[in-house]
Amino acid sequence: FAGLADVSVAQDIPVEGEITVPVGSHSPDEDYSTLDEPVKDTIMRDLKAVGKKFVHVMYPRKSSALLRDWDLWGPLVLCVSLALMLQGGSADSKDDGGPQFAEVFVIIWFGAVVITLNSKLLGGTISFFQSLCVLGYCVMPLTVAMLVCRLVLLAGAGTVSFIIRLIVVGAMFAWSTLASTAFLADSQPPNRKALVVYPIFLFYFVISWMILTFTPQ
């Protein structure tokens, strides 16, 4: 390489270019990658999130945890269990009986979607799935009421049992409505709050009616 002997880089020519090494390219993967963790950890994390939301519904305070990390597992479990428990009520002809599984499912999900659309159309700032999440989780008191009703009906179906069921369903209906209103009312414009709360009231009233009129075989 005789010709290259006199080639030299001048001292005053700046070396240009980017030789940056991305900082932290390894550590995010190590910290947040959930691919390598045991399956038990993954499941427990989701279960804990769902459980925490149930607790929030039990003691409704204005917390943003329910809204921020929405998920639809809880509503699905509640809806399926409520629809299953509403089975078994019957009449002699199918036309006169209680709601079928598909009807309960459709009422709950379609009702929640319509209420969410209603609140968004009225100018609410909550997102679609957050509202579905809240409405679904707040069905929990009514699912508890259904459980209690079925247990009471095991003991008998007289007037006393009806009064007990009426009180329990009424109290849970009030709890559901108040819980969901506590979460959802803040995201509405102030002069339209009643317009948003009324459909929620109607929704839980219909579910309560289905629970109260359940008559076992």
Partner: protein, 307 residues
């Protein structure tokens, strides 16, 4: 032409009155109607000028229909377009409901309350409430009527909810569609002053159904006379709202067609009420002596099997 001149003078006069009464009205030009605040009733006309008032109302609603067209400028596939149909506050919805329950004679519901801001909130949720009210009240009333009978077992009759929903939503949305089409067709033949947009007609029909909600609750009372009295009363109230809305729209047409249109509107309204009462509410039993206790076991088995 004399009528046309009278319109213009009347509008001019009315605008001057409005200006005197509301110095801070938003628009005071002759071309556009003065924009009154939505919850203010205009009580500036004397009784003798009621006809001008109606004609003015038609003029207003004609122009406000243009304004309505300007308001909804978002394309129909965006969410904002549909948000313009829900641009109502709580007090506005309550005012509209009040206007449908206490109709003021001579005042047009659309002109007085809707005023180029038709909303879909009222019609949709009033229909939903009515569906569930009728289903629940019907169920309760049947329960009380048949209570105490030996062979009666309570049934929730949940199928009736779907039937009620289909009926009421079809009535509240398809009849306005047909009526709107009919009015558009007549408008092309006869130069009508008044034309309502489809949403305004849906609004009137939706809000006029509100009176049936308390009526359905009161239909639990198991007396046939009471039920029919209630039905006639609520039919009068909501029918008058419809008549006062649509009479100015067909008045200028052929007399027979105008009367036939209004009569059809009222007939369909009555048909809905009577149909709901007949289907969802069992007839209360007349006061008959108690049925003879069957002597045979077979007879009682027959009774049980019938249910």
């Amino acid at each position: 032409t004399a009528c046309l001149v009278m319109y213009l003078f009347a509008e001019f006069d009315d605008a001057a009155n409005l200006l005197a009464a509301n110095p801070d009205a938003t628009t005071i030009s002759i071309d556009e109607p003065a924009e009154l605040p939505k919850n203010q009733h205009s009580r500036l006309q004397e009784p003798g000028r009621e006809e001008d008032d109606e004609l003015l109302g038609t003029d207003d609603s004609d122009k406000t229909e243009l304004l309505a067209g300007q308001k909804k400028s978002a394309p129909f596939w965006t969410f904002e377009y549909y948000q313009t149909f829900f641009d109502v506050d709580t007090y506005q919805v309550l005012d509209r409901i009040k206007g449908s329950v206490f109709p003021v004679p001579g005042k047009n519901f659309v002109r007085l309350y809707i005023r180029s801001n038709p909303d879909l909130y009222g019609p949709f949720w009033i229909c939903a409430t009515l569906v569930f009210t009728i289903a629940v009240s019907g169920n309760l009333s049947n329960f009380f009527i048949h209570l105490g009978k030996p062979a009666y077992r309570y049934v929730p009759e949940f199928r009736k909810v779907s039937i009620a929903a289909t009926t009421i939503y079809a009535y509240a949305w398809l009849i306005p569609l047909a009526l709107w089409g009919f009015l558009m067709w007549r408008n092309s033949k006869v130069m009508n002053i008044v034309s309502y947009s489809f949403l305004e007609i849906v609004c009137v029909y939706g809000y006029s159904l509100f009176i049936y909600i308390p009526t359905a609750v009161l239909w639990i009372i198991p007396q046939q006379v009471v039920r029919w009295l209630l039905m006639v009363f609520s039919l009068c109230l909501s029918g008058s709202v419809l008549v006062m809305t649509f009479w100015p729209a067909v008045r200028d047409d052929n007399r027979r067609i105008a009367v036939a249109t209004v009569a059809t509107i009222l007939l369909l309204h009555a048909l809905l009420a009577v149909g709901c009462l007949a289907y969802f509410f069992d007839a209360p039993e007349l006061d008959m002596p108690a049925p003879i206790i069957p002597a045979h076991n077979s007879t009682s088995k027959v009774l049980l099997e019938q249910h």
